[in-house]
């Protein structure tokens, strides 16, 4: 019979028993609610061994890719080591190797971690200062290609972390990174799917990673990137993105400004109006939304109403939940 390994404990399963039943039977207070596979309270992650057959049905492909599964569903076929979602989050030491201002209020940080730090380009991590102060930032580059971790930090006046980064942080400073977390990353396997990436501010960071990852994997469907800002000064990485779009006919890069004059690859107006005019139907598209939380919430609903399936809409939770207040 299969056994579950959880927090150093080995739980033998009875025939036909689900992971959740096994844990509860062993007196472990595992999170759960509906026990029918809807509420997702019982979500856990398979860290060693295959998730039980059927236990990933209906989950987003990014979640499946991360080994997340519903413990109330399916019967394990082999020994399985799991963590609950709360237990995720490894911390590793890192050294800052480069700090560069790449936008009006955007700083690019590059770090080298002391140990390999497994993540997918576009996921977010917590950057932890020596005194424990921590903030979440998305990764903007690809592990496997680069040996450093790249983060884009929006500098906020009086921001405890970002102010420190902008004013005091120097190459060689020791920090730590914790994570990774989040579902905004490219999942190979459906190379024809049209991709829509919409971001404002440093929401561009994960999109930049996703875009590069898609190209690296030979994505063959259209990739549309909308970068939004109030005015041209709020944009960054424009030259890099224009070069990427020129080199890849599949990539369309559109800057969306609230104020300014329209031009080639530059539209003026609210992003949702631009989207609606140019891409009225998003049926079959995979969508990534990153940036200003209110905008993300609003767009999420609009792209859903425009036909994108719920499981194909990705917006990272840290911009949606109260934790957002700590993402400055």
């Amino acid at each position: 019979m299969a056994a579950i390994l959880y927090r150093g404990q080995r739980v033998e399963l009875a025939p036909g028993e689900s992971v959740l039943d096994g844990l509860l039977g062993a007196g472990i207070d595992a999170p759960h609610s509906c026990r029918s596979g809807h509420c997702r309270t019982c979500l856990a992650r398979a860290v060693d061994g295959p998730p039980p057959p059927g236990s990933q049905e209906g989950l987003k492909d990014a979640w499946r890719e991360l080994g997340l599964f519903l413990t109330c569903k399916g019967v394990p076929t082999a020994d399985l080591a799991i963590t609950t979602v709360d237990d995720l989050g490894l911390e590793v030491g890192a050294t800052v190797t480069e700090i560069a201002r790449i936008g009006r209020d955007v700083v690019r940080l590059r770090l080298i971690t002391d140990a390999p730090f497994e993540h997918r380009g576009g996921q977010f991590v917590s950057l932890v200062r020596a005194d424990g102060l921590a903030r979440s930032y998305s990764t903007a580059n690809l592990p496997g290609r680069d040996d450093f971790l790249e983060l884009h930090v929006r500098v906020i006046k009086d921001g405890a972390m970002s102010g420190w980064i902008a004013r005091e942080l120097a190459a060689g400073t020791r920090v730590a990174v914790r994570g990774p977390d989040g579902e905004c990353f490219y999942v190979p396997g459906n190379p024809q799917t049209p991709l829509l990436l919409v971001g404002t501010g440093t929401g561009l960071a994960p999109l930049f990673a996703i875009l590069q990852d898609a190209l690296r994997h030979g994505h063959r469907g259209p990739i549309v990137l909308l970068q939004g800002a109030v005015d041209a000064g709020g944009l960054y990485l424009v030259e890099e993105l224009e070069a990427l779009a020129r080199a890849n006919p599949l990539v369309e890069y559109v800057r969306c400004l609230l104020r300014g004059e329209p031009g080639v690859g530059l539209e003026v107006g609210p992003i949702h109006s631009i989207l609606k005019a140019r891409w009225p139907s998003l049926r079959g598209w995979k969508v990534f939304l990153c940036g200003d939380p209110d905008l993300v919430l609003d767009l999420r609903k609009r792209v859903f109403l425009a036909g994108a399936a719920l499981r194909d809409i990705h917006a990272d939770a840290f911009v949606m939940k109260p934790r957002a207040s700590s993402s400055v």
Partner: protein, 130 residues
């Protein structure tokens, strides 16, 4: 007798139905305000619970759950007309997925059977509808 949940194809069919149904609800101004929650993913998970329940699939909901689960909406004005809208979109969703008129009627009857619970009033308090 197999449930409509199984006849329609089980979990994958219900996942497809959630998208269609939830899009209809959010796009309908008569009821959209009740779904104005920040977390669309968890809302959708709950709608999946709703659909599984009314299709007779595996679920553990009780009438009491329906009372407590909708009480905050009743406080915001949830009434019979909204339940009618739900049943309307539910029927249209199932029809799109290939359900027959009899099957739609059976689901509507199941949804109607918890009407009093959802609206948090004594069982049998409402004149029968549909």
């Amino acid at each position: 007798m197999t449930s409509l949940y199984e006849q329609l194809g089980g979990e994958p069919a219900v996942s497809a139905a959630v998208d269609i149904f939830y899009r209809k609800m959010l796009g309908d101004e008569r009821v959209a305000a009740f779904f104005d929650d920040v977390d669309m993913d968890s809302q959708a998970a709950k709608q999946k619970g709703f659909l599984t329940m009314v299709l007779g699939g595996p679920n553990h909901y009780t009438g009491q759950d329906m009372r407590t689960g909708h009480r905050h909406l009743v406080a915001r004005g949830l009434n019979d007309s909204h339940v009618d809208v739900v049943i309307e979109h539910l029927g249209a969703t199932l029809t799109e997925l290939g359900a027959t008129a009899e099957q739609v009627a059976a689901v509507a009857a199941l949804a109607n059977s918890v009407r009093d619970d959802v609206l948090d009033r004594p069982q049998g308090a409402s004149p029968a509808r549909c």
